[in-house]
Amino acid sequence: MDEVEQTNVEQNDVLDVGYTDVPGTMLTDSNAIADFLKKTKIQDVLNWGRKNSLWFMVNAMGCCGVELLATGMAHYDTDRFGIIPRNSPRHADVLIISGYVTKKYLPALKRVWDQMPAPKWVICFGDCAISGGPFYESYSTHQNVDDIFPVDVFVPGCPPRCEALIQGFVELQKKIEAKKDKGTDY
């Protein structure tokens, strides 16, 4: 009887709780399910859902931010692509870097990026975010933002029109569908 009780105590240890003896089940606190699904056709269905609900973070950083705000307004009706502006980074999927990144603003932008739940994507919007633009040799701006963030789409222009941003979203949708985006690990 003593031996049986001791084995029961060991099986009730928190670290040892597992369902490996139950066939056909996996633990949900590991990446095993996600890693398994990435190899199957179900990932295509997931990507179809993701690419049609790209909610972007309203983070107007410069004069391109005006175009960013105008894109989310009713005139362009981005709901037909599933693109909705969100005011909280916790709801957002896409971070749009819409201006020059100064040395003082970079920590705040990194914090916004860290608060967004994965999978998440980055769009560089405008010449300032791509290359620095007129401020490319300034003492207070960061060069080469794509070293810091995994940028998927660059939208050039000074500032780009709203249609260009929608085109950038469409290109991002194509990349997600082709599984070539940087926001998800394949």
């Binding site: 490319y136 300034s138 207070s140 060069q143 080469n144 660059f154």
Partner: protein, 158 residues
């Protein structure tokens, strides 16, 4: 009051502190002031000559003369004359009295001049960087000999 009477009143009140005065036109005057007594001159300008509006305050770097100029542009609502007052400071240790007790809006102007040129304002209520991050303090990026510009061109520009 016109420009002539303002300059004569100013040089008559401070014959030693205002060591150079000039009338550019009917509405623009220039005066060079010694940096020790800039607060007294500003108080006289505001209270007696009704120069109540400090339009801006900034610095100019002159490496050849080894000087930094602090320039006050002071306007008035009473008469159509703008006074440009200059104070010349040594470049290796620029220090000047703060004019915040007279013109309260000089607060942020002086903080910006401090972070960009390194002009230290004595008795300033809150002398800390205005726009630049704290770790850039001491680089003085608007001086002519500043060398901290990014030396590598942005890669995507090429």
């Amino acid at each position: 009051m016109d420009a002539n009477s303002i300059i004569s009143s100013l040089t008559g009140k401070f014959p030693e502190d205002i060591y150079d005065a000039e009338i550019e036109s009917d509405i623009r005057t220039i005066a060079k002031v010694k940096p020790e007594n800039v607060v007294e001159v500003c108080r006289y300008l505001k209270e007696d000559l009704s120069f109540g509006h400090l339009c801006c305050e900034f610095g100019v770097d002159y490496p050849d003369r080894n000087e930094i100029e602090v320039i006050y542009v002071i306007g008035s609502y009473e008469h159509p004359v703008i006074l440009t007052m200059k104070a010349l400071l040594p470049r290796d240790n620029p220090e000047i009295e703060s004019v915040v007790p007279v013109y309260w809006n000089a607060n942020w102007y002086e903080r910006e001049t401090y972070e960009l040129f390194g002009v230290k304002y004595l008795n300033h209520p809150d002398l800390k960087p205005l726009v630049l991050p704290e770790e850039m303090l001491g680089e003085w990026p608007l001086r002519k000999d500043y060398a901290g510009f990014p030396n590598k061109t942005a890669r995507n520009l090429v």
